[in-house]
Amino acid sequence: MSSSASLHSGATPALIAPLAAPLPLAPRDAFPLLAADPALRYLDSAATAQKPRAVLDALRHYYETANANPHRGAYRLSVAATDAYHDARARVARFVGLRDADCLLFVRGTTEAMNLVAGSWGQAHVGPGDEVVVTRMDHHATFVTWQQLAHARGAAFRIAELTPDGRVDLDHLASLLGPRTKVVAFPHVSNALGTVNPVREIAALVRERSDAIVVVDGAQGVPHLPVEFDRLGADFYAFSGHKVGGPMGSGALLGRRALLEAMPPWQFGGDMIAFVGDEVTTWNALPHKFEAGTPNVGDAVGLAAACDFLAGLGMDAVIAHERALVAAAMERLGAIEGVRVHGPAADQRSGVVSFSMADVHPHDLATILDERGVCIRAGHHCAQPLMRSLGVPATARASFWVYSDAADVEALAEGLESARRLFAA
């Protein structure tokens, strides 16, 4: 854990939010890539996070001291790998507030998690005449996965629209729910706008009006907010390790035990079987039933280290830090001629600022900023359906994380001013 972590972890949101010039919550030095390039202004953490040294160390330490195929070995090295994997699951589960750690399935990321739910629960329970509901702000991982499942099963696919300031329109959502609704999927936090959705409230709405399962895309939740799965009221919750500072190739699906136990397996292979007959095969218990093949122990260990790192900072402090930066950025950017910021007020977001500049395409903004060492994202953010409703082909997006600071905001603003000048000339 970094030394500043303990300094900040006790800070309440109220203490941090009003700072005019936020310092990093975790020092850049704790992130080798950022430490090596002090001029780099990395504002694309919503796409993927830079990795704490502690994570890279944990990953390497696993491969150098405990690497073996877990579960299957009777020798001590394999037991060490099994223990490392089991311990990683327990730590990640604790971090996201899931008591029953066997209901945490390690997957490659949010995309795979969503495909698992659709491929197992969805294939088994959604049929002709049923209805599947997503929102206008869903990432393609959720939107397309459920769109295709609905088509494959002959179900209707419904899209809950947004309010003008980029929140899920709960009245419209409510109007879509009914006895034929089988699935309601939505993001905890929109990657394109930063909007934080009221998961508990939406889940309650769904329960009231339907028997649908509530599937939460938490890719932008876990990295930025305190998450307590057991109290969210959701049935499934998915997230990606690489956005939490963990390695690529790690991630998790959390699910309620009764659902997971009743679901058919999704992939077949080693570890997930109990008995393999020539004709009939039976399945292993949770979590193994859904983890076919040699587990990715190394990346799971890295993900656990990332969760420990964030726990050390405190997730209340993380979201407060991000909101302070967002508030500063919205103020600074809003003052630049022609800039329009999309989405809701700062206190209803994670650290995402999506914006457009009149007459300058986001792609051009990204190139101009990159020349100044400022990395932002330009594009549809895997949210083409949302872009259509915003009436733009793409937006520019700056996103913050624990290492972001006021200098990042300033560099962004200056770059935009330079673009303004260039295109106005």
Binding site: V360, P362, R372, G373, G379, R421, L422, F423
Partner: protein, 146 residues
């Protein structure tokens, strides 16, 4: 990594910005003989290219769609450069333009490319090459499909 605005101007030349602000030959082409569409899935940019031939020779080319300064300027210059060329000449131009934006020194020195040479700076920005070639990829389809 910080650079002066002057350096940025190497890619965002006045000529490119001018084509971006006032695109030439933009809009539908009545009586087109061929048409192709391209979409950049990264940013949602779209180009529709329409071409009318007189026998083997391009009589007129027009484009529509939306996109960044590079894709729009490139399409605008393409429609100008195309007029009066034979199919074979147009095919050669597609190849030469592709070489240019991929950093080929020969192409950069080729005066036959005319204004298009303003786009050579794109070679320094690999993420933007696709923007520059969007309309050209549509032209390639027009020439093949015909």
């Amino acid at each position: 990594m910080t650079v002066s605005d002057a350096q940025l101007a190497a890619i965002y030349q006045e000529l490119i910005l001018d084509h971006y602000r006032r695109p030439r030959n933009k809009g539908a082409l009545a009586g087109a003989d061929a048409r192709a569409e391209r979409r950049n899935p990264l940013c949602g940019d779209e180009i529709v290219l329409e071409v009318a031939f007189d026998g083997d020779v391009v009589r007129e080319a027009r484009f529509s769609g939306r996109g960044c300064s590079i894709s729009q300027a490139s399409a605008s210059m393409l429609t100008q450069a195309l007029r009066g060329r034979t199919r074979a000449e147009a095919e050669a131009l597609v190849r030469q333009f592709s070489a240019l934006v991929h950093g080929d020194a020969g192409a950069a020195g080729d005066e036959g490319l005319g204004e298009l040479r303003a786009l050579q700076g794109v070679a320094r920005f690999p993420a933007r090459i696709r923007c520059a070639t969007l309309a050209w990829s549509a032209l390639d389809e027009v020439l093949r499909g015909a």
